[in-house]
C-alpha cells in the first residue's frame, strides 16, 4: 500500500496554501491608494424595510457623509443640529483625554492593563447617541465611549480600572471590563465574540415580551472568525431579531491583520447578506455616517424588519493594549496614511465649516476634558490603586459565585482569611 503521507504521484497541479500577509511591515512606506473609499454622498439610503438581497452595493461600498470639504453630503446625512454635533464632539474629546490619562496611569503602575479606542471613537459614540438610552448594548472592550454618552460617572470607570475599594465590580474584573445594568450596558467579557449571541438573545427576549427596546453588540473584525459571531447571525436571521450587530473593522487584531478574518476575500458587512441580514459598510471615522447607519438599523429593528450588520471601516491608531507594541509588526506610517483621517478632527472641522465651532473653543474644550479627567483621577485615587490594599473585604472574593454561599466556598473563605491573618496578623493590613 502507498504511504498515505507521501505526495500523490498524479499529474494534477500542485496545490499551494495561501497564508495572508499584510501589505506593510515595520519600515515599509504605507500606501492605501488601493482602497476604494468611494465618495461622500454616493451611497443611496434605502427604505429601512429593504430586503437584504438588495443591499449588495451598501455591503461592499462605503457609506460616507463628511467630505474633504468638511461638509455633510448625500442622503445619509443625519441632519443633526449643531448642539448635538457639539455634544458628540465633546464625548469624543473626553474619551480621548480619558484614554491618554488611563494609559499613562498604567505606565505609572496604578493599574495592570488598559486599552485605548483612539481613532475609533466615532464607532461607539455616534451609535450610542443614535440609540435610545434604554436600548441594551453588548460591547466589546473598546466601547468606553458608550458609557460616556450614557452618563456613566467617570470616577466609576477609574475605580474599576484601579480595582480599588470603590470598584463596583469588587475588583474582580480586568480593567475596562465594565458593567452597568443601570445604563443598559452589559458586562464585558474577555472571551471574544461571546456578546454577539447574547445580544441576539436579549433582542429575542424583548420581542417575546412585546417590548420596544432593541439590542446592539460590538465586536472586532478579528473576532468575527469566532463561531459565536456566526451563531449570532444565524439566530438573528432566523428569528428576525431586533438587534444591530456592529463589527468594528480597525484592520488589526493584535498583530494579525484583517486578512486573517477573511478581509482579503470580502467585506465584513457582506457576511450579513449570506445570512439574509441587512448590511451596511460605513466609514467608521465619519461620526455622521456612523450615527446615520445606527439610526437606520434602529428604525429597521423597531419596525420588526429585522437585524442589521454594520461594518465600521476604521483604523486602530494605537497599540492593541498597554501590553502591545505595534512597531513590531506594522508600519508606523499607516496611521498618518489612513485615507479616512481622524474622526475627532473630521467632526471638529465639520463644525467649524458650518460656523458652529472654532479652534479656540476646541482648545478650551480639550483643556477642560484633560482637567476633568485629571481631577477625577485624583478623586478616584483616594479609593486606592491596584495592589495597594484598598481593596474590597476579603470575603467578597467568595461572594456572587452563586446566589448563596455553598458550604465548600464558606470553608474556602475561612481558609483564605486564616492565611491572611497568619501572614499579616490581620485580615486587612492596609484597609
Amino acid at each position: 500500500m502507498a504511504d498515505p503521507r507521501a505526495p500523490s504521484e498524479s499529474n494534477r497541479p500542485a496545490l499551494a496554501l495561501h497564508v495572508p500577509e499584510p501589505k506593510y511591515r515595520p519600515g515599509d512606506k504605507a500606501d492605501f491608494s488601493h482602497i476604494d473609499i468611494g465618495q461622500p454622498g454616493d451611497q443611496p439610503r434605502p427604505d429601512e424595510g429593504i430586503h437584504p438581497s438588495q443591499m449588495a452595493g451598501l455591503a461592499y461600498g462605503l457609506v460616507r457623509v463628511l467630505g474633504d470639504d468638511n461638509h455633510a453630503h448625500g442622503p445619509w446625512n443625519p441632519r443633526l443640529d449643531p448642539e448635538t454635533l457639539r455634544t458628540m464632539l465633546g464625548h469624543m474629546a473626553l474619551v480621548r483625554a480619558f484614554d491618554e490619562r488611563m494609559f499613562r496611569g498604567q505606565r505609572q503602575g496604578k493599574t495592570s492593563f488598559y486599552m485605548k479606542c483612539t481613532g475609533e471613537e466615532a464607532t461607539s459614540i455616534a451609535p450610542a447617541m443614535a440609540l435610545a438610552s434604554d436600548d441594551m448594548v453588548f460591547p466589546s472592550y473598546r466601547q468606553q465611549g458608550i458609557l460616556l454618552v450614557r452618563g456613566y460617572p467617570l470616577i466609576e470607570m477609574i475605580n474599576q480600572i484601579y480595582s480599588n475599594k470603590a470598584d463596583k465590580l469588587k475588583g474582580r474584573q480586568l480593567p475596562i471590563m465594565y458593567s452597568s445594568r443601570e445604563h443598559s450596558f452589559f458586562s464585558i467579557s474577555g472571551n471574544l465574540a461571546t456578546q454577539c449571541p447574547q445580544a441576539v438573545g436579549w433582542a429575542m427576549a424583548s420581542a417575546i415580551k412585546g417590548d420596544s427596546r432593541i439590542a446592539a453588540s460590538w465586536v472586532g473584525e478579528g473576532s468575527t472568525a469566532e463561531g459565536d459571531f456566526h451563531s449570532a447571525c444565524t439566530f438573528a436571521a432566523v428569528y428576525n431579531a431586533p438587534v444591530i450587530l456592529n463589527v468594528v473593522n480597525n484592520q488589526w487584531a493584535i498583530s494579525s491583520f484583517s486578512g486573517f478574518a477573511g478581509a482579503e476575500r470580502t467585506t465584513f458587512a457582506a457576511r450579513g447578506l449570506g445570512y439574509g441580514i441587512a448590511a451596511l459598510r460605513v466609514d467608521g471615522n465619519d461620526a455622521l455616517a456612523c450615527y446615520a447607519a445606527t439610526e437606520w438599523a434602529a428604525n429597521r429593528a423597531r419596525g420588526n424588519d429585522g437585524p442589521t450588520l454594520i461594518e465600521y471601516f476604521t483604523y486602530r491608531a494605537e497599540g492593541h493594549s498597554t501590553s502591545d507594541d505595534p512597531s513590531g509588526y506594522r508600519s508606523a506610517q499607516e496611521r498618518e496614511e489612513w485615507p479616512l483621517g481622524d474622526p475627532v478632527t473630521r467632526l471638529k472641522n465639520h463644525l467649524i465649516a458650518i460656523g458652529e465651532w472654532d479652534e479656540q473653543r476646541h482648545a478650551a474644550m480639550d483643556l477642560e476634558c484633560a482637567e476633568r479627567v485629571k481631577a477625577t483621577t485624583k478623586e478616584a485615587e483616594k479609593n486606592g490603586i491596584l495592589g495597594h490594599g484598598l481593596h474590597h473585604p476579603f470575603h467578597t472574593m467568595f461572594e456572587d459565585v452563586y446566589e448563596d454561599l455553598p458550604w465548600h466556598l464558606e470553608e474556602q473563605a475561612e481558609q483564605a482569611i486564616r492565611e491572611r491573618i497568619a501572614k499579616f496578623g490581620t485580615e486587612r493590613p492596609f484597609g
Partner: protein, 354 residues
C-alpha cells in the same frame, strides 16, 4: 424510599391522588407547570417545539403555551446557550434543551466563561438563571455520541450547579427547583431510566416505572431542594454514593447480594450534600462510589477525596470507585464498558473483605 420533599407538607401528599409517571412524563409536567406559573420561563432547543423533542420531553407544550414560549432552534449549541445568556440578562428564565449531553460541547464557552461567571464578574449586576436540560448516560446502544456522562466537566466549573435526578418524583421536583434557581443549572437526565429503573441486567426485560414507588408523582407544583441527597435505603454495612441510573443498578446489586448497604442518591453534585455523606460514612465506615462516567478525574475522584479528607478516622477500608472505563463509550461492547453488577459486586466484596 424517597424522603418527602422538604417543601411539601405531609397532608398535601396524602391528599394527592396517586399517579404514576415515567421520568419523561414527570419532566414534561414540571415544564408545563413552570410555563404556566412564570411568564418569564421559555423553552427552546433542537426539535423541542412542534414535534416535542426527540425524547418527547416537551410534547404538547408549544401547542399549549404558544410559539413565543416554546420553540425550535437552529442546530447551534453555542447559539442556544449564548442567546439564553442574553435572555437571562433581559429577565427571562430560559430552559434550553441540548438534545444529547454529547452535543453540549459547542456551547461550553458560553456556559463556562459566560453563564457561570456572569454574576461574579458583574458583581450581581447580571445573572444567568437558565436551566440547561440534557439527556445523558449510556446503556441504550447510542455509541460514543449518544452515551456520554460529562458531569465532571461541569462540576469543575465555579458558578454552575449540576443536578441529576434518579426517579420521576425527583425529576419533577428537582427540575422545578432548578428552573426557579437564580444560578445556571446543568440538569442531566439519565436517558436509560426515562422509561423505567434499570437493574444493570441489560438482557432482562425493562421494568416500567409503574412498579417503582418513586414513580408516584404528586400533581401540581412541588420542589425537591437542590443540595439535598436522598437516602434510598438505610443500612449498616457500607455506604454507596451514586446518582442517576447507577442508583438503581447499585440498589439491585445490593439487594441481590443481600448486602445491608446504605444507598445515597446524591441528586445534586454541586451543591453537594456533604452532611448526608459524612453522616452515612461515619456510620458504616465503608464507602463505595458508583458512576457511569469515565474514571480519571471523574466526579468519583472528588467524592473519594472528600470522604477520605473528612471521614478518614471512621474508614475501615479504602474508598472504592466503580466507574466506566477511560475509553470512549463503545457501541458493540457497551455492556462490557458499563459499570454493571459484576464490577459493582467485586468492589463490594473487596470493601467488605475484612
Amino acid at each position: 424510599m424517597s424522603d418527602q420533599p422538604a417543601t411539601l407538607g405531609e397532608n398535601v401528599l396524602t391528599d394527592a391522588p396517586e399517579r404514576r409517571l415515567n421520568m419523561i412524563e414527570a419532566i414534561n409536567e414540571a415544564l408545563d407547570i413552570m410555563l404556566a406559573r412564570d411568564p418569564d420561563v421559555i423553552i427552546m432547543g433542537e426539535d423541542v417545539g412542534y414535534f416535542g423533542g426527540v425524547f418527547r420531553a416537551t410534547a404538547g407544550l408549544q401547542a399549549k403555551h404558544g410559539k413565543n414560549r416554546v420553540f425550535d432552534t437552529p442546530i447551534s449549541e453555542c447559539g442556544i446557550i449564548g442567546v439564553a445568556v442574553g435572555m437571562g440578562a433581559y429577565g427571562l428564565r430560559p430552559v434550553p434543551e441540548i438534545q444529547f449531553a454529547d452535543y453540549i460541547y459547542p456551547g461550553l464557552d458560553q456556559l463556562i466563561s459566560e453563564a457561570a461567571r456572569l454574576r461574579y464578574r458583574s458583581a450581581g449586576d447580571y445573572i444567568a438563571p437558565m436551566t440547561v436540560r440534557s439527556p445523558f448516560g449510556g446503556g441504550i446502544f447510542g455509541g460514543q455520541t449518544h452515551s456520554q456522562s460529562p458531569e465532571a466537566l461541569f462540576t469543575h466549573v465555579a458558578g454552575l450547579k449540576t443536578v441529576i435526578p434518579a426517579t420521576p418524583h425527583d425529576a419533577k421536583g428537582l427540575l422545578i427547583s432548578a428552573i426557579e434557581d437564580n444560578d445556571p443549572v446543568i440538569f442531566f437526565e439519565p436517558k436509560r431510566i426515562y422509561n423505567g429503573p434499570f437493574s444493570g441486567y441489560y438482557d432482562k426485560p425493562v421494568e416500567p416505572w409503574k412498579k417503582h414507588p418513586d414513580s408516584v408523582v404528586p400533581e401540581g407544583y412541588y420542589k425537591v431542594p437542590l443540595g439535598k441527597a436522598r437516602v434510598v435505603q438505610e443500612g449498616e454495612a457500607l455506604t454507596v454514593l451514586a446518582y442517576g441510573t447507577m442508583v438503581h443498578v447499585a440498589e439491585a446489586v445490593c439487594r441481590e447480594k443481600g448486602v445491608d448497604a446504605e444507598i445515597l442518591d446524591l441528586r445534586t453534585l454541586v451543591p453537594l450534600d456533604i452532611k448526608a455523606i459524612e453522616a452515612s460514612v461515619e456510620k458504616t465506615g465503608r464507602c463505595l462510589i458508583v458512576h457511569e462516567a469515565t474514571r480519571t478525574s471523574g466526579f468519583g475522584a472528588e467524592l473519594s477525596a472528600l470522604v477520605t479528607e473528612r471521614c478518614f478516622y471512621h474508614l475501615e477500608a479504602p474508598v472504592e470507585r466503580v466507574t466506566g472505563f477511560d475509553t470512549p463509550y463503545p457501541h458493540s461492547l457497551e455492556w462490557a464498558y458499563f459499570p454493571g453488577p459484576v464490577r459493582i459486586g467485586e468492589a463490594i466484596d473487596k470493601l467488605l473483605k475484612d
